[in-house]
Symmetry: C2
Subunit: 157 residues, 2 copies
Amino acid sequence: MDRELLKQIVDRYEAANFLVNRRLNAMIRELMPEELTIDQFATLRYLRMNEKSTSSELADIFCVGKSSITAIITRLFDKSLLVRIPDDKDRRVTYLALTEEGKRMCDMMEEKIHTLLSKFITQFDEQEALSFIHTFEKLAARLMQGEEYRDENHTEV
Amino acid sequence: MDRELLKQIVDRYEAANFLVNRRLNAMIRELMPEELTIDQFATLRYLRMNEKSTSSELADIFCVGKSSITAIITRLFDKSLLVRIPDDKDRRVTYLALTEEGKRMCDMMEEKIHTLLSKFITQFDEQEALSFIHTFEKLAARLMQGEEYRDENHTEV
DNA sequence: GTAGAATAGTTTAATAATAGAACTATATCA
DNA sequence: TGATATAGTTCTATTATTAAACTATTCTAC
């Protein structure tokens, strides 16, 4: 790929990404119930799909420090949306699980977001949408690989 | 597009988007100099490309309230990365412009981010990258249209 | 031409997410 | 067993954010 073209593609990616994320986030924020933030919902959603994960796992997936996760988890716990379940094999470990209310809340929001995104996605023809998603997933996979960036950074000490 | 397929595409989009943004943000955060946050950089970058915009314009583009912009602008001003230039036609208006140091800082970061993104983008063949970007830009354009979501929300009465 | 409405931007107070360091408790390993 | 590593929390400070109240202007409709 030629140098100039690459630069253009990178620029265009940055610009589109910025717009899409800012707009979508704003739209999703509006769908949220008063008591839930986007990051809190993202946490609920992850736990909905991954029963019994831990703070450390969340910190890894979300690319933030563990103290950040503790704060979010505490807020969700205070709202009775999840519980902490100590592992009895390794007593350092605490599993996280949604309460019934947490699941309900998560499903309700997931539904609303689905409706929102569907409006935009249905504007593309099937083949274009599938190609796009396919490339997006490849990009995601490649970002997951080049993981040298972690440690030293989002883990304390 | 059939209902089940649509649901799958939306799910896949959500998952890929989450991964890509979290990872990329983490990687970019690491490139940042000590004194600059990602949001501050995004502000610099916008002003670099759009000379003489205003707080209100930034609030619109970034989909946040004006007081949020005031806070970021003040921090960048304190670091001597930008200046406020009052309009002498309409004295309510204040234009924002980068200082030379602001421009240098912005260019330096832009360069670093370019290098990072290039690593990933060059892994795709030219045609795939171009199709992807094309669809991404269409999505961005459509999100810009359905703007009913603003007002009442990110503008203070 | 003036009163009332709209607009641009700031201030203030409160909340959330975050980093980083210090800490507790537990487990692993050599 | 003693040193080291790991899981998670607490604490402190910073940043981004909202919402509401506010100042200073400009616009507008009468």
